[in-house]
Symmetry: C2
Subunit: 191 residues, 2 copies
């Protein structure tokens, strides 16, 4: 599943129940366990939505199944991006992948999202903790997730192709104009 | 464009700049002008995201162009839905329609959203103001919008087919399980 790299890489099947759980944990920056795992961001569906794609792939191969990806960011990081055109330390971008369906209820054309969550990954900025400032985490369930090793291609791909600070702002339509205006596009970014 | 009825009907072309404007107006229920128009919900992109679809159509005709629809709801109404399984008075559901694109930046397959906002509609619950409790508004720009007449088919379609309180909760995957659990599905709703 490494062909899907919208925010991160290596999506896995997880329970749909995962996304339906809510807690009262406070927002405001990534939280880690004592052994460096990222805690599951239980409130991510209440974060600020950035965009969705359908069946996006950065490789030449198309996927064998259909799915939406939804990207969310914590409100404090979003507001800081609006102000500065880039991400503050502690930013978390959550990528949720949901199965796409069609011809359900009264819908006759096109696709809609279902309760089946197929993957959940988080891209975290912490300049003291991570070499390069950012790390990816892949949640297999609602527990804590280990960091994806920096040898994985998600890191080099984001480094080479991302519009702003190794994040794919080119696919976040409300933020790209702000980064352009603020002059925070990466020097090597090609639209 | 009446074939696209995810939340409302009658989408129109509007400026992409509309969605990029932000204000400090407070959230918390629909706001109207003295002559009954709905004020533009400037902060809707910071509301809680419910779901997206691609090229959804409830008629037998497919559309001639490709677009995503994104649905947002104010946080207070979302939290009340989590608690009760239905919408409180003052609820606003915003439907934003964005042009879909493909083969941009490093994306080789699938579709992503662009800066071109093709429509913006709001579904408002106000039991004292509207016969049936709800009304649709279609924004042609970031000004105030007049109510869509109740003779338009969006009203009868939502009345007949919506899962919860005339809203298409069947397409909001985090909310449908809650409505099912709370027993708030409409009596005539067929999955």
């Amino acid at each position: 599943m490494k062909t899907v790299l919208t925010v991160a890489c290596g999506l896995v099947l997880v329970s749909a129940a995962m996304a339906a759980e809510w807690s009262t944990s406070p927002e405001g920056g990534a939280a880690f366990t004592a052994d460096g795992k990222l805690k599951y961001p239980e409130k991510y569906r209440e974060w600020v939505y950035l965009s969705s794609g359908l069946d996006m792939s950065y490789s030449d191969r198309a996927m064998g199944h259909s799915m939406f990806d939804n990207v969310f960011v914590e409100p404090f990081a979003y507001r800081e991006f609006l102000r500065t055109g880039t991400w503050p330390d502690g930013t978390q971008l959550a990528l949720e992948v949901r199965a796409a369906s069609e011809k359900g209820s009264i819908n006759k054309h096109g696709k809609f999202q279902t309760e089946e969550v197929m993957g959940m990954e988080v891209h975290v900025k912490d300049v003291r903790r991570f070499q390069g400032g950012w790390a990816f985490f892949n949640f297999r369930d609602a527990g804590a997730a280990q960091m994806i090793p920096t040898t994985e291609e998600c890191y080099s791909c984001h480094q080479q192709h991302a519009a702003v600070d190794t994040t794919f702002v080119q696919f976040y339509p409300t933020l790209l104009p702000i980064a352009t205006l603020k002059g925070t596009l990466s020097p090597g970014y090609k639209p």
